[in-house]
């Protein structure tokens, strides 16, 4: 599959999602975890979702209603996306200028079968 350039913004979003790989994050949480603005992360999540790196779901409307707020859209890394994100961040950390943004990454262990994405 053809690829796109891995930008600092994409890496920051992936880093935020990888920080809590087993938790679903909604938009505002990703904004705060990545340090990016919501207008920046939305197109990034859109691309990652279309590529299958990230899955999403809308929160149950009833639950949100009882808490008096709009439903949230939750995102999390897919299994494939997690392996690819770890790979991308490990490479991104070595790039000049990205160290400040990405270090120290708290990267979870990669399952051996997924360490090298296809």
């Amino acid at each position: 599959m053809a690829g796109l350039r891995m930008t600092v913004g994409v890496l920051a979003v992936l880093g935020a999602l990888l920080d809590r790989p087993d938790t679903e994050l909604y938009g505002l949480e990703i904004v705060r975890a990545s340090g990016l603005e919501p207008g920046t992360i939305y197109p990034i999540l859109q691309r990652l979702r279309a590529a299958g790196w990230v899955s999403d779901r809308w929160e149950d409307g009833e639950l949100a209603h009882t808490e008096g707020r709009p439903p949230r859209r939750y995102y999390r890394l897919t299994t494939e996306g997690r392996a690819r994100a770890i790979h991308a961040l490990q490479h991104g950390r070595d790039r000049r200028g990205l160290g400040r943004l990405l270090a120290p990454p708290r990267l979870p262990a990669v399952p051996s079968s997924e360490a090298e994405p296809a």
């Binding site: 690829g3 796109l4 350039r5 938009g27 207008g39 279309a50 809308w58 859209r73 690819r84 994405p117």
Partner: protein
């Protein structure tokens, strides 16, 4: 979640409409929609139907949960700034449906009308300068100089005319040569700002676009001015300073935009 698969071009789940849960989410947000300023409401209409609904619901959700008004304003500005990129991403399946490559791997060969889309910079996509400063081409120098001169003419003109008889024929002249009124002075300043935009904000290609547009405008002004159709701008028919200025300006701009797009 684990059963998620990448959606593809033509996938009805993605392009045909948002899912039920998303529709419910959007519907549930109606009471919070008032949080979204008018400056963002039209954006939804620019996106494909499914995307527009999902984006709208997410914007409302984000703003509704942001309690601090200053932070909310910052987020609104962020959404506003992201509109060109959002529209681009939403309408360009070649960009949307490819996976990001690992860092260090070269660009892809994704093409759109023969151009490698993935390698296009924001400058090339939108003609707006991005992360660079300074004049680049000869015709941008021309745009800068003529822009400053024209703005100066507008300011001198307002010193002469004030704001009375805004669109009437007056006896006020700039430098004793160019008859003017308030409307004419406003036009000077607006056109000057457009030229400065081309010189200082846009890329050379964007500046050429501005120069093409202004050449056409100046030619129309000159031709119709000679025929006496511009009393609104306090311009007489026949040979006079204004009509000659417009004609010379059009020819000079045409020359610069044709031969001056070099560094």
């Amino acid at each position: 979640m684990s059963g998620h698969r990448a959606l593809r071009v033509g996938d009805s789940e993605f392009l045909g409409g948002i899912g039920l849960a998303e529709k419910q989410a959007a519907a549930g947000c109606r009471s919070d929609a008032l949080l979204v300023p008018w400056s963002l409401r039209w954006v939804r209409g620019l996106l494909p139907g499914a995307e527009g609904g999902a984006w709208w619901a997410e914007v409302i959700c984000c703003l509704a949960e942001t309690r601090d008004s200053g932070e909310r304003r910052q987020y609104v500005r962020s959404y506003r700034r992201s509109v060109p990129r959002l529209v681009w991403t939403s309408w360009t399946p070649q960009v949307r449906f490819v996976a990001p490559a690992p860092v260090g791997v070269g660009y892809s060969s994704v093409k759109w009308k023969g151009t490698k889309v993935a390698t296009l910079s924001p400058e090339e996509k939108f003609g707006i300068r991005y992360g660079t400063r300074g004049i680049r081409t000869v015709d941008q120098i021309w745009s800068l100089l003529i822009g400053l001169v024209v703005i100066a003419l507008g300011i001198i003109g307002f010193a002469q005319t004030g704001f009375t008889n805004y669109t009437e024929m007056t006896d006020h002249y700039i430098l004793g040569l160019f008859r003017t009124n308030g409307f004419h002075n406003t036009a000077y300043i607006v056109v000057g700002l457009l030229w400065l935009l081309g010189a200082l904000v846009l890329t050379p290609a964007g500046n050429q676009g501005v120069n093409i547009a202004l050449t056409i405008v100046l030619l129309l002004l000159a031709v119709l001015g000679f025929l006496g159709y511009w009393h609104l701008l306090s311009i007489d028919a026949g040979m006079n300073g204004n009509n000659i200025l417009h004609l010379v300006g059009a020819i000079a701009t045409l020359i610069f935009l044709t031969f001056g797009a070099v560094v």
